[in-house]
């Protein structure tokens, strides 16, 4: 029986059903929890201290965006950006209940303004901008606010020359914003190029679940892509595929471990090692002090105020030892040209 027909999006409700079918909690519990895999019980404090990973079996519970920021950031925390942005209802959309009601409920139950939190933070002493999605807010779905905050995070990171860390957890585009939600896929992908122009890296962490229009836009465009153990990563979810094609899918379909084998992610990283891993890769990719004007320069075409920034960067050059520059350009005696500095 094909009820879904040609639908290719994974709905939040479907994921919840799926999660329940598999004995996972449909809603994220911000407090105490029982491990669905091994039945161990943990107090709210233990859950938080264990980064919401079961110490007995390694099961990864969902994490809210703000708690994720605390997990990734240094003590002292993070500075949240644009928390004031809120969704509108361009279609006056109603399904089983009006969209405005759903939004109000989500705002109330999560205490959040939207399904994404953007912030500046330091991950193991590496400064970065982070855009972290929150599945508790309408399934982490991407509407105009998620798109806008994400785009601003890209511009902000590019302007400051900071790497961008993305943590995705989303059922896809927000249906209730219709065609305009679809357009956020284009908006976010385009925004990412600010970072390409600024020559700063993008690290993506795929949390459970990352599906639909989020996987098919910015979440699949990281320079380095980690996935949390067990995370479902797919454009079409298993239920939709089973209903459409009658395929019988393996139990690990679309899961992080399978997607590693498929070549879709770089590594499956345990949450308890995630901050260390991100900090390490950002350290490897960090440009030498003084930056590199030749490669940073295109950033000024991008964001407002960029020209000034690059001007400062050029003045700060050259901090490289003359010897090193000479070695890099045999036959050249001009060590002053910032255009040849290594990146």
């Amino acid at each position: 029986m094909s009820r879904v027909g040609r639908n290719i999006h994974v709905s939040v409700d479907r994921l919840r059903q799926l999660a329940q079918r598999e004995g996972r909690p449909g809603r994220i519990k911000a407090d105490a929890g029982t491990c669905p895999k091994c039945d161990s019980h943990y107090s709210a404090d233990e859950m938080r201290r264990n980064l919401r990973v079961c110490p007995a079996c390694g099961h990864h519970f969902p994490v809210t965006a703000r708690e994720r920021m605390e997990q990734l950031g240094e003590p002292g925390g993070y500075v949240e950006l644009w928390p004031e942005l809120r969704a509108s209802d361009p279609l006056q959309f109603t399904d089983l209940k009006p969209y405005t009601e759903r939004i109000a409920e989500a705002e109330k139950s999560t205490g959040m303004g939207e399904a994404i939190v953007c912030a500046e933070l330091e991950v193991r002493h590496q400064p970065a901008v982070a855009a972290v999605m929150d599945f508790t807010f309408m399934g982490g779905s991407m509407g105009a606010v998620v798109g806008e905050k994400f785009a601003r995070a890209c511009d902000h990171a590019a302007q400051k020359g900071l790497p961008l860390i993305i943590v995705s957890a989303s059922g896809g585009a927000r249906m209730q914003e219709g065609t305009l939600a679809l357009m956020q896929m284009a908006k976010t992908v385009i925004a990412l190029d600010a970072l390409a122009e600024a020559r700063v890296p993008v690290v993506v962490v795929l949390a459970h679940p990352t599906t639909g229009g989020v996987w098919a836009s910015f979440a699949s465009l990281g320079d380095v892509t980690y996935a949390e153990p067990g995370a479902l990563i797919a454009f079409s979810g298993p239920r939709v595929i089973e209903e459409t094609t009658r395929e019988v899918l393996p139990a690990d379909f679309g899961r992080a471990e399978a997607q590693l084998k498929n070549g879709q992610v770089d590594a499956v990283v345990d949450r308890r090692e995630l901050a260390e891993r991100i900090g390490r890769v950002l350290h490897i990719l960090a440009r030498p002090a003084g930056g590199d004007a030749s490669t940073a320069a295109p950033a000024l075409q991008w964001a407002q105020g960029g020209a000034q920034r690059v001007g400062e960067a050029v003045q700060a050059l050259p901090s490289l030892p003359r010897k090193m520059m000479d070695r890099m350009r045999p036959g050249s005696t001009d060590g002053e040209d910032p255009g040849e500095a290594p990146s």
Binding site: R3, V4, G5, R6, N7, I8, H9, S11, D13, L85, R86, A87, S88, P90, F93, T94, D95, L96, A144, G147, E148, A151, A173, M175, E177, G178, T179, L180, A181, L182, M183, Q184, M185, A186, K187, V189, I190, A191, L192, D193, G212, G213, W215, A216, S217, A219, S220, L221, A234, F235, S236, V240, I241, T244, T245, L249, G254, N262, G263, Q264
Partner: protein
């Protein structure tokens, strides 16, 4: 078809669209049905009428050729133009062969391959969108359906050459948007453009497969609405009764809009086109306005080009 005459028509239709009343439920459902009419012209029907010659390319050079998406180069008004679009089939065999216009990663990679060549050789890219969505299959996921679509979006945005996307029938979900990031997006009068098909939405949001009509009403995915939202730049009229009644005339009208749009874009410097392309998508999606001062676009304020 002189330029002056086209310009007049362009304005007349978009004025009509701007003033059109909100379509009612039955009218909306009729649009959905028209958008997927079995006799509606498909991508190759348009390409064969628009181009004096067309060389279709096959294969993504990695894995396979995807018949759900056609791509190649055509001679259009005596200039080379790349055409890319999802292709549906009419009879059972053809539908199966074309996979109902649902492209897999190979389809989008073939599209990117052709876009790259077009960009290198300096020819405009025209995409024709007609799909219920990208193919939902295990093999497609294993070979990176999500990444293929996101990279196709990224490549379309990065192109230096003029780009035009035309929604000719059914434009649903990321599978449609994978070919939709262009300088100008046109939409045929009876086509639809939405985040999901009405059937998919019905099952998910109403938990009831029979609510597709209701879903269509909620999503309002018509050309007129997409124009109001700023998602498309112009609505291309169809022959009386719909494009399926007269393929020749449907192609002729599209030709007028397409040739004019390409001429306009060709007159812009490449850097300006890219800047405008970024702005175009950046402003889509209204935010709540608590103090009347967020400065976000909340709909169309300026008339379309033409």
């Amino acid at each position: 078809m002189s330029d002056r005459k086209q310009g007049g028509r362009f304005r007349k239709v978009t004025d009509k669209v701007r003033r059109a009343p909100e379509p009612q439920e039955d009218d909306l459902w009729e649009r959905v049905q028209l958008a997927r009419h079995a006799q509606r012209p498909y991508t190759l029907d348009y390409i064969n009428r628009l181009c004096t010659d067309f060389e279709e390319l096959h294969g993504d050079r990695y894995f396979a050729d995807d018949a759900a998406l056609v791509a190649g180069f055509g001679r259009y008004h005596d200039t080379p133009v790349a055409f890319i679009g999802q292709q549906k089939g009419r009879d059972t065999n053809e539908r199966t062969y074309r996979n109902f216009g649902m492209a897999g990663p190979e389809g989008y990679r073939k599209a990117m391959r052709v876009m790259e060549i077009a960009n290198r050789l300096g020819m405009p890219v025209v995409t024709l969108i007609d799909t219920p969505g990208a193919f939902p299959g295990a093999s497609a996921e294993e070979r990176g359906q999500g990444g293929a679509i996101s990279r196709s979006i990224q490549m379309m945005w990065r192109l230096d050459v003029p780009t035009v996307a035309v929604v000719i029938g059914e434009g649903s979900s990321g599978g449609a948007l994978g070919l939709g990031v262009a300088d100008r997006v046109l939409m045929l009068e009876n086509s639809t453009y939405s985040v999901i098909s009405p059937e998919g939405a019905s099952a998910i949001l109403w938990r009831d497969a029979s609510k597709a009509k209701l879903a269509a009403q909620a999503f309002k995915p018509t050309a007129a609405n997409c124009y109001r939202w700023g998602v498309v730049d112009a609505v291309v009229p169809e022959p009386e009764g719909g494009a399926h009644t007269d393929h020749e005339q449907a192609a002729e009208i599209l030709d007028q809009y397409l040739s004019r749009t390409l001429a306009d874009l060709g007159a812009m410097p490449a850097a300006e086109r890219r800047r405008a392309r970024r702005e175009r998508f950046r402003k889509l999606g209204p935010l709540r306005d608590p103090e009347g001062g967020m400065g976000m676009a909340t709909g169309r304020e300026t008339p379309p080009p033409g």
